[in-house]
Subunit: 423 residues, 2 copies
Amino acid sequence: MIKVGIVGVGTVGSSVVKILQENADIITARSGKKIVPVMGVVKNLSKKRDIDIPLSDNVDDVLQNDDIDVVVELMGGVDDAFAVVKKALLSKKAVVTANKALLAYHRFELRDIAGDTPIGYEASVAGGIPIIKALREGLSANHIQSIKGIMNGTCNYILTKMMNEKATFENVLKEAQALGYAEADPTFDVGGFDAAHKLLILASIAYGIDVKPEDILIEGIENIDNEDIFFAKEFGYNIKLLTIAKKSGNQVQLRVHPALVPMSQMIAKVDGVMNGISVVGDRVGETMYYGPGAGGNATASAVISDLIDIARSGKKSPMLGFKKPLENCNLTLMNSDDIETKYYIRIKVADKIGVLSQISQVLGAQGISIGSFLQKPDVQDESNAILLFSTHTCKEKDIQIALKQIGSLVFVKEKPAMIRIES
Amino acid sequence: MIKVGIVGVGTVGSSVVKILQENADIITARSGKKIVPVMGVVKNLSKKRDIDIPLSDNVDDVLQNDDIDVVVELMGGVDDAFAVVKKALLSKKAVVTANKALLAYHRFELRDIAGDTPIGYEASVAGGIPIIKALREGLSANHIQSIKGIMNGTCNYILTKMMNEKATFENVLKEAQALGYAEADPTFDVGGFDAAHKLLILASIAYGIDVKPEDILIEGIENIDNEDIFFAKEFGYNIKLLTIAKKSGNQVQLRVHPALVPMSQMIAKVDGVMNGISVVGDRVGETMYYGPGAGGNATASAVISDLIDIARSGKKSPMLGFKKPLENCNLTLMNSDDIETKYYIRIKVADKIGVLSQISQVLGAQGISIGSFLQKPDVQDESNAILLFSTHTCKEKDIQIALKQIGSLVFVKEKPAMIRIES
């Protein structure tokens, strides 16, 4: 029998308890052992909960309980969770966590503290999709060339609605909040930070690279406009908040931002609150993983898969997928100035002669050539025009300089907007 | 160090050798051990091969070699392969196989022979997609409600071309043969048998059910007609060769046949030679896995992931995912007469008054009601008409009786065609 203590018994924790109890038949058959939730730790003991296990408000009732084999950490946050997980690992209790923020900041420390003690975190990325397992075990023969993920359901819901219904960002966000798909303060989701945490976890498995959220390029979807949607449709793209990890020589690009993705790509077809992750390996080519990225049951499904792995065999795959440091690879993070891709640009200008030529000159001076171009009247002010460009491949640094210069031209009416194109 | 002997060094075997050698850096880092191919067994030693390992034409040079830890079986076929794998397992050598036919017939015997000796077969289903791992480990908390797969690239290539280009089955098959996507004798692929082998492997993990290919409903794509393509497009379907495992109470449906799939489903978007498998778990909901289902490198990627799993930890997940028999579940195969679904029917008739009424009567007498209906002129003979129906949900047995009766009506010009609808 494996005895489990659960620290944090909210939506996911309750689902973990219920599934362990209600699916005990299949779980016992698959793991060879009974996996029993024996104690839950909560902040507020007086809150009514629809689950059947003993509760405590003292975490030491789990951490100092010699009877408990595995600690499931579902409390969230970084510092307190780190203290709990560290204490559990030091007393040789296995740990399963769904806490992406904890891992985004402390995954390498936790690996070192854990040593041979299992630490599972399948639930920390893309909820019910077994992407950690796919990357750490399923694709282990490959050098990973790229990971492109849709890993925030809130953003994908908003962007899908904007694509399908010509609704504005503000209106869809309100609707998503009403439906419970977005938080009252949506910044963590729509600003790309949640997705960035997940990206860092995947990148450490793919590349063994230890960087923090502050080190990478993160842009949210707040400035996506209906003109961008129009351009995307016109040229056969979908707009998605992508998490991108990509190897170029000894450097790794890590970035989170909205992107125009050709409709023909599988990842472009992941709509609504669903998540999808495309992984390209040097030998296997592209594989893609799709499913629910959030929700109590989906996340609990991943938590329990880790518990079953632990029950089946004390010895697990190495936490970050590597048993030895990747000395030969020696990968470093690419400076985001050096990213090379195609770009889409939106510029609102006074509708005058010579405007296009001046903008082209600025782009040309940075070595940026135009791929396609559309001009639309500004329906809010007919003395303005809206210019929509896509570029051929160029450097991030050059496009940033060009956009700054274009933004300061007298006839330009607002800060130019830019979305990267991933094709 | 893990020493590997490879029995059968064709396309996949050569890729295994090359990847183990060329990606040794990452494979050693991930597994903690060197994984070295030390011997290949081939039928014809004089054939030139572009790989760098010692070769033998005597399988005992691998099987009786105490130095070899793992036997990779890539020889194909059922009986000889079974003998080799059995011998390897009995001498406590771990086995990795890509042989779906072997497993379709002998997976439960092999599990019993293997005992604690690892036997990996990730490569046997859907090539480079880690679907065995997803099902056996990633979704292990769930009762599996259904599996719907596109697991034969040849069929999917042909059907995609037929959908996109109005080409006939015969012409696309010829093209696929010229491109190397279809064999000279394509029966094993287009008849659904290859897909059925893979389905049985997945079904034994999901349901612990031991049945043989002969026990299940298998239909191929040979009779798909351009009228069927027309109807599918008209009503928002794609046509796919689906492998279906579905739990209904204590029974499991296992079937392979072409199906009309609503365009909105992710599985309907898997085009060309690619594979995709949708799995619905009772807790996680739907997850989907997409990637290359064949090819030397993709298949070798899966073979090596098994080798790395073995190197990381002698103790693996149980071969078929269960450590104890599923006594509580006690699932049996559903008789295909009892399948309930919607159907699409194509009937070529003499274009006369009263025809439709007589056909409706036959359907009505079996309790089958019509969902949608289209009539088209027969471009080859204008005295005929082509009737295209979809039905509401009804029983397989009833539709089979109705089709037989309709086929014997005097004005019906050829055997009615039927495609099941999966929505």
